[in-house]
Symmetry: C2
């Protein structure tokens, strides 16, 4: 009787990573980790699954609907994490005595959201977050900017802009307009600026949020400030004479730009953009968004900001901090669009072909020698037609193939094939490693 | 009104990774990936969550109980993966046309099991698997052994033993004794050899499994063969005269040991152990177990074998292969026990202290220069008491601290403190990077 087969498939909104894409994803993650580490951020990990109570926090219905939530075998109400921020808040509250402050951590891991899948949006994706907590020093804010800058340089991008703003500026203005208690709705409107323009925002602020014409205009003049960084900062000074908080925001921004300059961060890569607000009330100081100028349409690929209190749900101890999150999968999609993804699907550079099954031990032996010399080397396992083996090597993106049969072994030599050029040469085994190296360096 | 706090805690059987442990876990994973890559294994990833139908396969009730299984928001019956083998089988069946054969993949990722937590066993743990599929060549079996060997050498172990056997040997004997259809029960008994010894196994084979005395003795004489590798192989030859499969198993083992020898794998690290059976019927050829000789009690830390058919649940195409799985968390526990875990919890080596808030921009600037020179450098964000900052640096495992105030900036110099020795010296900023390098190389 023929057995019924199960159709191999993934769930809607989930997907496999094949080698060509996964090799790039691993490279991106490695680069991010290396940059984070170079600043002294240390890795942590937290469970994929937590008590729903912890992950829901004071979340909205929207968050709730986005969670994969269920009852485990022990009747516990559990959920899969939908970001790395709430687990970090829980972690910080739980382990703060052990890790101390300031505490700089990075966390790379998958998160899950039961949202409707769309182009480029999946129900499972990897986040790469980094944060410095336990300090209110602007040094940490400036370093966050440095991290984002170095990250994109190391990832291979040159044409990117980090837009910076400081929420104290807007909060200061709202204070002086007696509008601080309406900040959530106002922020929500301001986030639509690129979509509905200044006129649309003004209409919404006056008609829906209920601001006076004067109030709406003051806010709009703040977020529409233009000119050089210095000119904008001077305009802000003028608008914020009545608010200490606002003035502090301007001071922090000035210090940030001055430090970028003395530290050699190219000025064109960091832009003061008083229009960015990053909707969440959670942010209280510097905020960051990062755009690839060749692909502005995909939005910010690395965003974050300063917050006053990371873990207020879990501890009465105030935990201020600053950090950002790299949208790894969005970046992968961007690289795909910019044709920056290589088609290579091998991790090795040399393929030792199996020309004659009787010499298998020699193929395995020589591969081991090449590996010991630092050359990633694969051995083709079967004595298939040589053309097929070379085709395999070319398709996967190997650089060099080695071939040897009775003749070569009698004379102690190998044939080296440069797969890009199609050229082939015979060398003695003594010279083999040097010759392969030379070929690879060409 | 005081807000009620949520108690920060993880679920039973789950845990956080703090930096000191996570730094080691990342190093282990990086090393494993580097070794896999050096052999041409390419990374893949699959979703954490799949249709339960796929993950259950023809699983037992036991597997079923171990799965985190639930209904998602779309009423789908889904589960978290409990190993990386079944997702790979599904992946192979789904993408085989695209990836071709032979296909060599590694996969590093968390898996989840709802089993009773015990010492060293958690409900979430990371697996590091590698497999070669689409070939029956013994070359792939031999390379699997090479991978395991290189893996443990690169991980920093020298005193380990890889025990190898070939299931064809036992299967051949069972064939010639007409017992092939009882292999599952027989294997289950043989797996208890170390626990209940030969006499216990014989009793079980005759009394519970129903073998004749003669049959049980033949099996026991096979799995008790002793002597040098050559001597054991000769004894096996004698026991397996009536079985082609058995003879093939012996031939494969001979080739494996001969290739190890010509390839320079130290003979004491690979041991023919005819007593290992690895319970699962799934394995059909070479099998591997790896033991740390300083900690035999923790069992095998890297195990695997050859199988005839990876994906029979999902495709009618036969997919033979061979591979193994590194028990990463078991290894971490072992390193903990062997006191091989460093206490270091920083990823940086240099701490730039904040001696004077007014020089913050200089601290950030110099840190950037050190990083550009390849020296991971952290800046302390707050102008706290210098002793506290140096204490922070020592506790975390920094090697060097830099200190500078007005005096130093006037003379263009920095104070370098060697945190291990407690020695301090003053150097000009021009010499700073060289001096720090020299200190680190001491």
């Amino acid at each position: 009787m023929k057995k019924k087969l199960i159709k191999p498939r993934t769930l809607k909104g989930f997907r496999d990573y094949l080698p060509n894409r996964m090799i790039v994803r691993e490279r991106l993650i490695d680069t991010a980790r290396e940059v984070y580490r170079s600043f002294g951020f240390a890795p942590i990990d937290t469970p994929a699954m937590e008590y729903s109570e912890i992950l829901l926090g004071n979340g909205s219905d929207e968050t709730d609907k986005q969670m994969f939530r269920f009852e485990d075998n022990g009747k516990r109400d559990v959920s899969l994490r939908f970001d790395l921020t709430i687990p970090f808040a829980r972690f910080a509250a739980e382990h703060l005595n052990e890790v101390g402050t300031p505490f700089k951590r990075y966390h790379v891991g998958p998160v899950w959201r039961a949202e409707k899948p769309q182009a480029g949006r999946y129900r499972e994706f990897v986040q790469c977050d980094f944060d410095t907590i336990g300090t209110v020093s602007n040094a940490a804010d400036i370093e966050t900017l440095f991290v984002i800058h170095d990250l994109f340089v190391e990832l291979g991008f040159s044409n990117f802009t980090i837009r910076v703003n400081n929420r104290k500026v807007l909060n200061g203005l709202l204070d002086s307009l007696n509008l601080r208690d309406r900040s959530t709705e106002i922020l929500r409107s301001l986030d639509k600026l690129t979509k509905i323009q200044a006129a649309g925002v003004k209409k919404e602020l006056t008609e829906s949020v209920g601001l006076s014409d004067n109030q709406a205009e003051k806010i709009l003049s703040l977020i529409s400030a233009e000119g050089t960084t210095d000119e904008i900062l001077t305009q802000l000074d003028g608008l914020l004479t009545e608010s200490d908080e606002g003035a502090q925001g301007v001071t922090d921004l000035r210090e940030l730009f001055a430090t970028c300059e003395v530290s050699g961060i190219p000025t064109e890569r960091v832009e003061l953009d008083v229009s960015i607000a990053r909707g969440l009330n959670y942010y209280t100081g510097t905020i960051y968004e990062t755009f690839l100028n060749d692909l502005p349409g995909i939005g910010s690929v690395c965003s974050g900001g300063r917050y006053d209190n990371l873990a207020s749900l879990f501890t009465s101890q105030a935990l201020p901090g600053v950090g950002a999150s790299l949208g790894l999968d969005r970046l992968l999609a961007a690289m795909d669009e910019l044709e920056l993804l290589p088609s290579q699907s091998t991790t090795a550079v040399v393929l030792v072909t199996c020309f004659d099954r009787n010499h298998q031990a020699d193929y395995l032996r020589i591969a081991r020698q090449l590996r010991a010399a630092g050359l990633p080397t694969e051995v083709f396992p079967d004595a298939k037609n040589l053309g097929k083996q070379l085709g395999y090597a070319s398709n996967k993106g190997f650089r060099v193939a080695l071939i040897a049969g009775d003749n070569e072994f009698e004379s102690g030599s190998w044939q080296i094939k440069d797969l890009a050029k199609g050229e082939q040469q015979t060398v003695s085994e003594y010279e083999l490693i040097c010759q392969v190296r030379e070929l690879l360096e060409e």
